[in-house]
Amino acid sequence: MTSSDSTYRQYAIEEYTIDYEPFYVPVKDEVELFLSAYAQKIPVLLKGPTGCGKTRFVEYMAFKLGRPLGAVTKANKNGEHGRALITVACHEDLTASDLVGRYLLEGDSTRWIDGPLTRAVKVGAVCYLDEIVEARKDTTVLIHPLTDHRRILPIEKLGQIVEARDGFLLVISYNPGYQSALKDLKHSTRQRFMAIEFNYPTRDLETNIIAHEAGVSDAVAADLAKLGEKVRHLKEHGLAEGVSTRLLIYAGRLIHEGIPARRACQVSVVWALTDDGDVQRSIEEVVTSIFE
């Protein structure tokens, strides 16, 4: 259901696939781990600070796992295609029906529509629940039957049970850092996943990533990575979270566009990170130390 000739493209949620290999630099053995988990149908929990590449990793894996899937697939010009990836960003009002589906009023009658999780189960896609702890606890319980040997999704309102198709994989992510103790993942939930821990890449690796993603010179990328490292030292000392690779890339892109480096860092790192005047000033001093 694509309309490639129009100015935008839209897909049915379960038909969206990653067709070009996303740029991802493996840090350790996370790719092998994920592939093995997929083969063994073990749900995966990705832990790590924001902007360190969790989502990119899932996209990358979805692409790697791609294979013909009948109607759902389409190919890029190399004949490659990714696995369908359904991403749900969780928020505190996310209810069970947001995931599973609900009745809608239509004329005098009602109509059932599947939620994203149900669709993923049905087509055997990778379902990625981003920031799972943000969701209400009663919602998270819903995924339990999907994550053990049963691999089923009960749809209470329809009185149905949907078996997960082969290829379905549940991936959730959460950031142990900034959520308060109140928003911890329940043990009954977390003990259903294998966990891959992510962290910010090393300075050299991050230099590569920034250079690639932002299209800046290696020297600038190295300076940005250096800035990243320095700012992350401030975590828990004025900063709840270190600066994400994503922000550093934004800074790089701005520099690439011709914004002076100090200004670019100010808008994409300093101001983005914190509202606290003193902390801002401190980071700015680091910026002005590193960039001319």
């Binding site: 069970a96 009023l105 490292e229 401190s282 590193i290």
Partner: protein, 1103 residues
């Protein structure tokens, strides 16, 4: 004229005078013969007659007559007969008042008249008469006046004396002793003053006598010295200003005079005029402001440049127009606006303003926990650092000068701080203190062992062998005293041990390492490069001239310059250029990114080798001092080991002792050896188990050896004592840090303090935690501004008591406990509330759907909002209870009610007695209840209830006395869990002193503000109005305290908290209305109901 005639006259008068006193006759006789040639017989007899008249005047007036006769031989020739008579007449007139006066007048005349001139004599006598009031005290004062008049007139004009006399006269009304004292010191103290000053000085004295007579003496004694502080030309104005103030403000005038004079003493005299005119400008509107302006001028001038002081003044002057109180507070430096103004006018950058930023900056750079403190703090610790103004680090903290005022704007002063901080952080970031003896350098080959070998070979053989022949006893004794071979504590120490000249080695290492650090910073932090180079240029300009230094020092100095990049400033004898080239080459080698601290050490060895070859001879011996041309610097010997240039002929001459190069300011105090030792000690004290314990002896040995700590700098005692002191400080410092660690981690440290054996370490551990200090502003409603950092809140935990109290109270109120608990359980969190009428939701609301269908059928446009959702309402409450622990809570509650009953007994003493006995027995059994007891019981009930619903709560008490000592007691901190300790503390809640509510509320706000909760409540329980020493203009004023408290409560409200006041003061309504305008409050009329009321209120507040 015949001698017989004369003899007759004399005989006659001698006879007449005889009855009075024989001495009078003798005096008469002597005088008469002295003036015999000057007077005729008639005149003589007239003269004698006058004397006789005097003697006759009153029963002791013969004394005056005696003085009269005695003075004659001098006075008569001096004055001539005509004037002499007048002189005598003055005396007689005085004698009519008091013979003592006259006697004194005659006695001193011979000196007074030349000093005061004869024309002024009448005035003088007049002044003397002025002082005489007919009493003996006034007479003696007047006598004193005449006695001292020669001195007085020697110094002053008659006008001045007149003022002085008026001043003394004014004092007489108060105290003759004081007046007499002032008169007696007057000639002496007034002497140093110039003529013009003196009269103004005296005029001020006169006005002072009228208003603040008690200060007169101090003024007279100290005044001239104080006045000397003021610029000569301005003294008159200054005194006039002071007089003006004394007229307007009375008693404070002398205080102003002395304070202002002292303040002016520190200020450039040329600006005194300006300051005075600014002050004069204020007098009209507020004398106090004028006064304060001058008094604080010294502080102001220290903070802001002199040319901006008019701006400072104008701002205050504007404030003064708006509100006198506000302006006065401004000039008293007691207002936030004043602080802000100073801050904006000042270019000085105080470390305290930027230390947070620098701390985080340092933390970002190094990745370790770096504190930023003032260098003064480091010097105070007494652990080896003595400089109070240079930057340094001791491994965990960066120390910076307390302020920087190098440039005229704050921005640039900050860059100075930043460079300082970056360099020190560089030491931490690039591993200066991680030097390891065994680690290889990245550039140089390892020659450390070679040097160590050489050192060992050169060392003298152990003396133990030589004394082997001694007796056994001596042997044992010897063995005890013989120090065991010193094992270096740190790698740095070990490194320095291999070089004989430790001072030279240490200097060279500092140069090499600083050069390395500077290069790394230059590479890593391009942004700071420019300010860094600026600093280096400034430092280079400050270096001493090289050709004034002895040769070896010149060599080291050149190296310093190389390390600062000042190649073109080097100067070195041409014949020796190759050596310098080689040395520069070594430094240049270090300027490679891979160089590590071990390379700096290797470079040190090579430089050391070169330096020891250079004799430290006077610079005059060398003639061919030459600069280095840039070409020769291009081709430096850059291979790692090319040292072979030893065949240069060294000049000969007398060697001078080697001295270290002058310090480079931005690099500051560099003490790698001490830092390594500190770090090692720190590590050990953290790791609990002593790995290889360092004994104090070992430490001492190291310290005595090290050149980084010149122990005599620290204390001028003998070496052992001061090194002991040093050790004590060191251990204290380490314990302090260990304790800080303890605070963070609840797990307590074991007693096994590795360094100890020393008792100070253990003792400190057992001391109660140090109270913490906080400073808060206070609201001055008159000035309409905060007084900055006005109150000091001392936070400490309340002493532990018996936890049983808690349980006892609970059982006493068991029924109430059950009831409140039940009510609170109803508040249980995690309720689900249905939210209806949503466009989107969990479920379809059937009522809404029915409506929808009905409306549709009936042709209306139905609403789509037919869904509902369950929303979880989480209870997220943090509450702070603030208990009034003022002395008034000691009051018994039942007192009033009981008294009424007494009326029943009327006349029956027996009934009264039996009632009284019963009451006593009752009181003994159950002591009368006080307000504080009810507060305590209420708290117990509340805790019980709060534990049920799981709200976060903190309980604090407050009291204190004065603004410097607002006591804030922690009964239960917000984060603390309810424990026996907390329960014990409740037992110890007791009445203390006053009630300064404002700062206590502000501190509670500070605590509550750190809590992340949806609902934050500040609950104040008190028994009366706020009052404290100095909490208001005077003791009776209540307005100030109420306004400040109100402001504090408003601050809470602004922070999104809910303040609530509960008072048991039944007259509370009148002031609470004002104090808690817009804020919830309640007066509990029946004090006994406090426990139940407080829980009910709490429940209502949070739902």
């Amino acid at each position: 004229m015949s001698s017989s005639e004369r003899a007759k006259i004399l005989a006659k008068y001698e006879k007449l005078l005889t009855p009075y006193s024989t001495s009078l006759v003798a005096e008469f006789h002597r005088s008469a013969s002295a003036i015999a040639d000057l007077v005729s017989d008639q005149e003589l007899s007239q003269w004698a007659e006058e004397g006789l008249d005097l003697a006759r005047q009153s029963w002791r007036s013969w004394e005056a007559a005696g003085e009269y006769f005695r003075a004659t031989p001098q006075m008569l020739p001096m004055l001539g007969l005509e004037r002499y008579r007048r002189w005598a007449r003055y005396g007689r007139e005085l004698a009519e008042l008091s013979s003592a006066l006259a006697a004194s007048y005659f006695r001193t005349s011979s000196k007074t008249v030349p000093a005061a001139t004869f024309e002024r004599l009448g005035d003088l006598v007049e002044l003397g008469r002025l002082l005489y009031k007919g009493t003996w005290r006034s007479a003696s004062l007047a006598v004193q006046f005449f006695d001292s008049s020669p001195q007085l007139f020697a110094e002053m004009s008659i006008d001045d004396v007149r003022v002085l006399v008026r001043f003394v006269d004014a004092l007489c009304d108060r105290s003759y002793d004081l007046a007499s004292h002032c008169l007696s010191i007057a000639p002496h103290v007034l002497k140093p003053l110039g003529d013009e000053d003196r009269s103004t000085f005296l005029q001020f004295a006169e006005s002072l006598a009228a208003t603040g007579w008690a200060d007169a003496r101090s003024y007279l004694e100290k005044g001239p010295a104080l006045l000397a502080h003021v610029q000569q030309k301005q003294r008159v104005r200054f005194l006039e200003l002071a007089s003006e103030l004394s007229r307007r403000e009375g008693r404070q005038a002398f205080g102003f005079f002395s304070d202002a004079a002292r303040a002016l003493s520190t200020i450039d005299p040329d600006s005194h005029g300006l300051l005075l005119s600014l002050s004069e400008e204020l007098v009209e509107r507020s004398p106090i402001a004028a006064m304060e302006f001058l008094k604080t001028a010294a502080t102001i001038v220290e903070r802001i440049p002199l040319d901006t002081i008019a701006d400072w003044h104008d701002e205050g002057s504007r404030l003064l127009d708006a509100s006198i109180d506000g302006g006065e507070a401004y000039f008293r430096l007691e207002s936030s606006r004043g602080e802000d103004m100073l801050e904006s006018l000042s270019s000085r950058l105080d470390l305290s303003r930027v230390s947070d930023i620098l701390r985080m900056y340092g933390k970002a750079l190094t990745g370790c926990e770096v504190a930023v403190h003032s260098s003064e703090a480091l010097a105070e610790k007494g652990i080896g650092w003595v400089e109070t103004e240079s930057p340094s680090t001791e491994g965990t903290a960066i120390f910076l000068p307390p302020w920087i005022e190098e440039y005229s704007d704050k921005e640039r002063n900050f860059t100075v701080y930043k460079v300082y901080c970056t360099h020190q952080a560089g030491h931490l970031e690039f591993g200066t203190f991680e030097f390891e003896f065994e680690t290889e350098g990245a550039i140089f080959t390892n020659r450390r062992n070679e040097f160590a070998e050489a050192r060992r070979a050169a060392a003298p053989p152990a003396p133990a062998q030589a004394e082997a022949t001694d007796t056994e006893a001596a042997d044992i004794l010897e063995a005890d005293e013989q120090p065991t071979e010193h094992v270096p504590i740190t790698d740095m120490e070990r490194f320095f041990d291999i070089l004989p000249d430790r001072k030279l080695a240490s200097d060279l290492f500092a140069i090499a390492e600083d050069a390395r650090i500077d290069l790394l910073i230059d590479r890593e932090y391009a942004g700071i490069r420019r300010s860094y180079t600026d600093r280096q240029t400034i430092e280079l300009a400050k270096r001493p001239s090289i050709d004034k230094l002895p040769l070896k020092q010149a060599f080291v100095e050149n190296l310093v310059r190389v390390s600062l990049g000042g190649y073109d400033t080097m100067l070195w004898p041409e014949a020796l250029h190759p050596i310098m080239h080689e040395a520069i080459g070594v430094i240049e080698m270090l300027r490679q990114p891979q160089a590590n601290v071990e390379d700096a050490a290797e470079a040190t060895l090579r430089l050391y080798e070169l330096a020891t070859g250079i004799p430290n001879i006077a610079p005059e011996i060398m003639e061919d001092w030459e600069e280095f041309d840039s070409d020769s610097l291009q081709s430096l010997p850059m291979s790692a080991d090319s040292l072979g240039n030893s065949d240069i002929d060294m000049p000969q001459g007398e060697q001078m002792p080697y001295e270290s190069p002058s310090p480079v300011d931005f690099r500051g105090d560099f003490k790698p050896e001490t830092v390594q030792m500190l770090m090692k000690l720190r590590k050990q004290s953290q790791e609990e188990g002593p790995v290889s314990p360092i004994s104090p002896e070992q430490l001492k040995q190291m310290l005595e050896k090290s050149v980084e700590i010149s122990i005599d700098d620290m204390a001028e005692a003998n070496l052992t004592q001061s090194s002991d002191l040093f050790l004590t400080n060191l251990i204290k410092e380490l314990n302090q840090q260990a304790q800080d660690k303890d605070d963070k981690k609840p797990a307590p440290l074991k007693d096994g303090q590795p360094v100890t054996g020393d008792s100070t370490g253990d003792d400190e551990r057992e001391l109660p935690p140090e109270p913490k200090y906080f400073f808060y502003d206070e609201w001055d409603f008159r000035a309409g501004d905060y007084r900055p950092r006005w109150c000091r809140v001392v936070e400490s935990a309340i002493a532990d008591g018996a936890p049983q109290y808690f349980e006892q109270t609970l059982s006493k109120y068991s029924s109430l406990v059950h009831e409140t608990q039940r009510q609170f359980e109803l508040l249980r969190p995690e309720m689900f509330r249905k939210i209806k009428r949503l466009l989107d939701g969990d479920e379809i609301d059937f009522d809404a759907v029915t409506d929808y269908a009905v409306e549709r059928r009936s042709g209306h446009t139905p609403t789509d909002k037919v869904y509902y959702r369950r929303n979880k309402v989480e209870r997220d409450v943090a509450v702070t209870f603030l208990l009034d622990m003022s002395a008034s809570t000691d009051e018994e509650i039942a007192k009033h009610e009981k008294r009424y009953q007494q009326d029943d007994f009327d006349d029956d003493p027996r009934r009264y007695f039996s009632w009284w006995m019963a009451r006593r027995a009752q009181e003994l059994l159950t002591p009368p209840k006080r307000i504080i007891d009810l507060e305590k019981e209420s708290i117990v009930l509340l805790i019980k209830a709060l534990e049920t619903i799981g709200d976060r709560y903190g309980i604090y008490g407050f009291s204190g006395y004065g603004r410097d000592n607002v006591e804030f007691y922690v009964i239960k901190d917000l984060e603390e869990v309810l424990s026996d300790k907390v329960k014990g503390r409740i037992d110890k809640i007791a009445p203390v002193r006053s009630t300064r509510m404002g700062p206590a509320i502000r501190h509670a706000i500070y605590k509550l503000d750190q809590q992340d909760a949806k609902v934050r409540i500040l609950f104040l329980v008190s028994d009366g109005r706020p009052q404290d020493h100095g909490y208001g203009r005077d003791r009776t004023e209540k307005e100030y305290a109420i306004h400040d408290t109100h402001m504090a409560l408003l601050e809470a409200k602004r922070k999104g908290m809910v303040p609530f006041c509960l008072t048991v003061d039944r007259y509370g309504h009148d002031y609470l209305k004002q104090m808690c305008a817009d804020i919830g409050y309640e007066v509990v009329p029946d004090i006994e109901s406090l426990p139940s009321r407080i829980t009910t209120l709490y429940r209502q507040l949070t739902t």
